[in-house]
Amino acid sequence: MAVIEVTNLNLTYRVLMNRTGSIKELFKETIKGRTRITNYVALADVSFTVNKGEVVAILGRNGAGKSTLLKVLAGVLPPTKGASKVNGAIAPMIELGAGFHPEMTGTENVIFYSALLGRDVKRVKARAAEIGEWAGVSDHMGFPLRTFSSGMVARLAFSTATDEQADVLLVDEVLSVGDADFQGKSGARMDSLINSGAAVVLVSHDMVSVRKLAHRAIWLENGQVKMIGPAAAVVDAYEAG
């Protein structure tokens, strides 16, 4: 069953010609009759599906549209044309710790972050201590987040984001969280999420982990799909060209 269906997806950014977008500038440009907005095509005619329990990697150079594609899947950016349909709960790990607030304590952040993800706050409250323990920061859960080291923040964020079973995980270069010990632990948790049926869309420049984790890969170039197929084959082609 397809969990993610993307059909003829197009996304165009409107880019301002001058650096600043101000009403003053708008006024000046309107009087002079110049257009100040150009369209930048970030994604053109992208179509693919992702099935239950499948890991799909998105490859491509910087600026190829990988992160844009993830944001469309997360529902953050509305597509200009075409459609992207995701059936089920999404756990976006586009940037770990987005929505974390430095002045709130660890526990408060876990609850707030889960609320942003649309989870049941009551259930999370009960699980907060466990989430902290899994991240290995239970001693610090009562302190403001600014006293955490960056590794601790990332671990807590990972622990929170993966605490509940999601149908779709959107991952942007966050596989290398924490020390070697925690990496093993987080890898195991990802595996168990995948085994219980979660689909994963993953953006990475690390070809070794793509080969290891992904079943299929999509190669994006200038917003277009250049190649789509079994991970190993696409990675070979990508590394060759």
Partner: protein
């Protein structure tokens, strides 16, 4: 609170004698300031909330309207808390609370609708243009002088009074002062102004926001 005190000392010499008999300047001024704070700060916070939370909105899908509306609700809570010092001032100045007090709830909700509607519409501008804030600040200042926040309407010339009466905020404020301690005399038209502008504002805000948000989100 301190600002209220300074304004009270300064303006009570100038305006106190111009109020109709039975009305007191201290609660008149304090109600004006509470009202003005809710409107100004609520509007700015609400308009800014979406651009300042852009980092979250581009990573996790959250209905963006929540931020603008919650900023307006925070202003509403402050407005209600402000009723406590206002009540004290009412009694110190020798007035009593009117039985119409509970109407403040309705006024607060109407104001919150007005603020969140305008805030939503402005939030799009705040994301697109960096200098919106400066312009809005100037407009808010003009609007404050066109609202009888710290002067009685009667001190103005009849022509200016007519302009001030057309400002919907005047209607909100008149009803508010009347509801708290009978410190003003609103007309039917003030009630119509209040309800129609608050409903129109929330309709306008949500419609404008829905229309422009898809094109604006990428600019965050």
């Amino acid at each position: 609170m301190l600002t209220s005190f300074v304004l009270w000392v300064v303006f009570s010499y100038v305006f106190a004698s111009r109020l109709p008999s039975g009305q007191q300047f201290a609660p008149y001024l304090m109600a004006g300031i509470l009202f003005n704070t809710f409107f100004n700060q609520g509007l700015l916070l609400s308009a800014e909330s979406i651009s300042s939370n852009g980092a979250v909105l581009t990573k996790i899908y959250v209905p963006p309207q929540i931020f603008a509306i919650s900023a307006a609700l925070a202003g509403l809570v402050n407005f209600f808390i402000g009723m406590i010092p206002l009540t004290i001032v009412v009694y110190i100045s020798g007035q009593t609370l009117a039985w119409t007090m509970p109407i403040v709830l309705v006024i607060g909700i109407c104001l919150a609708l007005l603020v969140s509607g305008l805030g939503l519409a402005l939030s799009i501008m705040f994301i697109r243009f960096d200098d919106t804030r400066n312009i809005v600040n100037v407009l808010l200042m003009i609007l404050m002088y066109l609202t009888p926040v710290f002067y009685p309407i009667s001190v103005m010339s009849p022509r200016i009074q007519a302009i001030i009466r057309w400002n919907p905020l005047t209607s909100y404020l008149e009803i508010y002062r009347w509801a708290v301690s009978n410190n003003a005399s609103p007309h039917l038209r003030d009630w119509i102004f209040m309800f129609s502008t608050s409903l129109f504002s929330i309709w306008l805000g949500t419609t404008v926001f829905k229309k422009y948000w898809p094109r604006t989100v990428a600019m965050l």
